[in-house]
Structures are given as structure tokens and as C-alpha cells.
């Protein structure tokens, strides 16, 4: 489709954005008397120092490789996402749920004929789906040791269901997807309530005395990441089913 905009509008928009861009770039780089972004800021000047040294609860704690610490995840991004700032993550999952709900209301339900897949795709689809499920499971089980985690794992698991939808296989019904979503959402909050009764604050890690670097470490972090992975996978799979409504 052609965009028939006049040249004048384009030039004016380009000039305005050019001026604003130069201004913001110079503010971000050069001016100001305080701390600049391009200065060599060490994490001791930032809030991340507490997270990196794992002394949020106890000020003077130090730790060793293979020893115990406040929360024993080796991946510090994971420990920020799932332990120190878990409220952000749970509310974000709720925001995703609401947008998918709105998507389901807005999208028109029309009949759509599915083109039959070729023989090669039809034969290879189960193997591909198994591989996707395996990679997704690996990603969230090792989320506290290596890069990865619940969100990409959910996306990878949902691509397995996408393969099933594209080849016309009945993998899972939309009703059971909603049940999975509800169960995972409820269990995240019920684990939070259990930890409130055990430790006195919401979402606090109550499985302690693990070793940093082990597969079974991190306390509640792999459990939460598994729940988040299945919730995200169920929500994303809903989108594909809505697009291919029969």
C-alpha cells in the first residue's frame, strides 16, 4: 500500500525529531554536574551493590563459591527477577493476562480454512514439538544457573503448540489451556501466602541451606520460574488458537 504523504510533512517531522534527538543525546552524554552515564560508575554507587553482594537482609554477609548465601541462585538477574523483585514479575504476568483477555474480546471470530500441510511438515511436526518442549524445559530448569528463565522458556514451549496448530494437529484444547493458566496463577500466590506464614513477609524464600552452583539450589526460584513458564506458554498459545479459530 502506498503512503501518500506530502514531502513537506516528512521534512518538518524529520527536522523536529533531529533537533530533539541531538538535544537528548547531548543531555545524556555531556552536560550536568552530577554523575554522568559515561563515567565509570562502579556498582558500589548503585542499588545493585546490595543485590550483587546478597546482603539485603543482613548487612555484613559475605559468601563463598559452593557455600550458602541469602538466596543461592548463581544468576544474579534471576535472583533480582524472582526473589528480590518478585512483585514486579507477578504483576507483569497479570498485565500480560489482561492484554490477552482484551485480545480475545476484540479479535473477530470468522471461519478460516486451514491449508493442508505438506507430508514432510506433517511427519516432522511431532519430533519438532518434542525438541521444543525439551529445550523449553531445559531453559527454565537451569534458569538460576545459566542465562534463560521462565519468560523465554514459556515462549519456546508455546512455539511447540504453534507447530501443532499450523499442522492441524489437536494437541491441547483451549479449555485446558485456561485451566493450566488458572492453576499456575493461583499457586504462585498461594506459595506467597505460605511464605508469609512461615517467614513473616510475602514471597520470601523459605528453602534455605543450599549450595551456590548446584542444580538443586535457589530455594523457591526454580519453582516460581516453572510456574511462570507454564503461565506464559498458556497465554501465548491462546493467541494462536484465537487466530486459527475454526
Amino acid at each position: 500500500m502506498k503512503d501518500e504523504t506530502s514531502v513537506l510533512v516528512n521534512i518538518i517531522a524529520f527536522l523536529i525529531l533531529f533537533v530533539i534527538g541531538i538535544y537528548i543525546y547531548s543531555v545524556a552524554i555531556d552536560t550536568g554536574a552530577g554523575i554522568k552515564i559515561t563515567d565509570n560508575i562502579t556498582p558500589t554507587m548503585r542499588v545493585a551493590d546490595k543485590y550483587l553482594n546478597k546482603n539485603v537482609l543482613d548487612d555484613n554477609s559475605t559468601y563463598q563459591w559452593g557455600g550458602t548465601a541469602e538466596d543461592t541462585a548463581a544468576n544474579i538477574v534471576t535472583s533480582v527477577v524472582v526473589d528480590y523483585r518478585l512483585f514486579d514479575t507477578t504483576l507483569e504476568v497479570i498485565v500480560l493476562f489482561i492484554t490477552i483477555l482484551g485480545f480475545g474480546f476484540v479479535i473477530p471470530k470468522d471461519k478460516r480454512k486451514i491449508i493442508k500441510p505438506t507430508t514432510i511438515l506433517n511427519r516432522w511436526a511431532p519430533i519438532l514439538m518434542l525438541l521444543m518442549l525439551m529445550i523449553g524445559g531445559y531453559t527454565f530448569i537451569n534458569g538460576h544457573l545459566s542465562p534463560g528463565g521462565g519468560f523465554p522458556a514459556g515462549a519456546i514451549i508455546s512455539t511447540a503448540i504453534l507447530t501443532g496448530v499450523l499442522t492441524g494437529r489437536r494437541t491441547i484444547s483451549q479449555k485446558s489451556l485456561k485451566i493450566i493458566e488458572a492453576i499456575t496463577g493461583i499457586s504462585i500466590f498461594s506459595i506467597g501466602i505460605i511464605s508469609y506464614f512461615l517467614t513473616g513477609s510475602f514471597f520470601q524464600n523459605f528453602i534455605l541451606n543450599d549450595k551456590i552452583g548446584d542444580l538443586f539450589s535457589g530455594g523457591l526460584i526454580p519453582i516460581f520460574y516453572g510456574l511462570i513458564a507454564f503461565k506464559v506458554a498458556a497465554e501465548l498459545s491462546n493467541i494462536y488458537f484465537e487466530f486459527y479459530e475454526e
Binding site: V9, A13, I20, P43, Q64, V80, V81, I239
Partner: protein, 120 residues
Amino acid sequence: MTQVFILSSLSLMFIGLYGVLTRKNLLKIIIALNIIETGINLLLVSFGYIDHGITPILTSQESILNLNKMVDPVPQAIVLTSIVIGLGTTAFALALAIRYKITHNSISINASEEEEGRGI
């Protein structure tokens, strides 16, 4: 190094803003919004970068001794959730675009104004 990251992400943001302001096709506008989102994510992560920093993942005793050389993990954690929200809002916007196509039988943003009798 940080200047390269900041400059590239800011120019990505402004290219996307130019697209939102001047294009007439709805899907093109949604793509431009996604470009802005990518630029802002890059900008947030680049604020936490320090020169010759290392990844915030503990691998051995040496990485525990080098804790003050690690890049900031907090912007990374925020961007991790922001990408997923971006997917949700993009899906919602695409559903609205399909609705628009069905009611106006066109995907140009001029279509709704032409129906009401006022052109641009």
C-alpha cells in the same frame, strides 16, 4: 563503547518516532512502535553497562571476588519483563487493526476520516 550503545538506541527510537508520525498504514505504525520499544530497551540496558564489565552470573570463586566489575543487573531484570509486556500490547494492537480492516475495509488511517466526509 557506552556512547556507541546510547547513540544507536537513541537513533533507533527517533527513526521509530518518525515512522509513527509520517506513515499512513496501520501495520507500518505498529512496526514503528515496536522499533521504538526495541530502542528504549537497548537504552535502559546501556545505562547499566560499565566499561570492560562482566556478566552478572557467578561461575566460580573468581567471579565472586570480581563483584564490583559486574554490570548492573537491575535494568536487565526490568527489560526482561518489559519485552514480554511488549508482546502482549503488540498482539492487542494487531487485533484492533484486524477489527479496523473489517469495519472500514481498508488499513489506511485515512479511511475512517473519509467515511465521515472530511479528508486530510
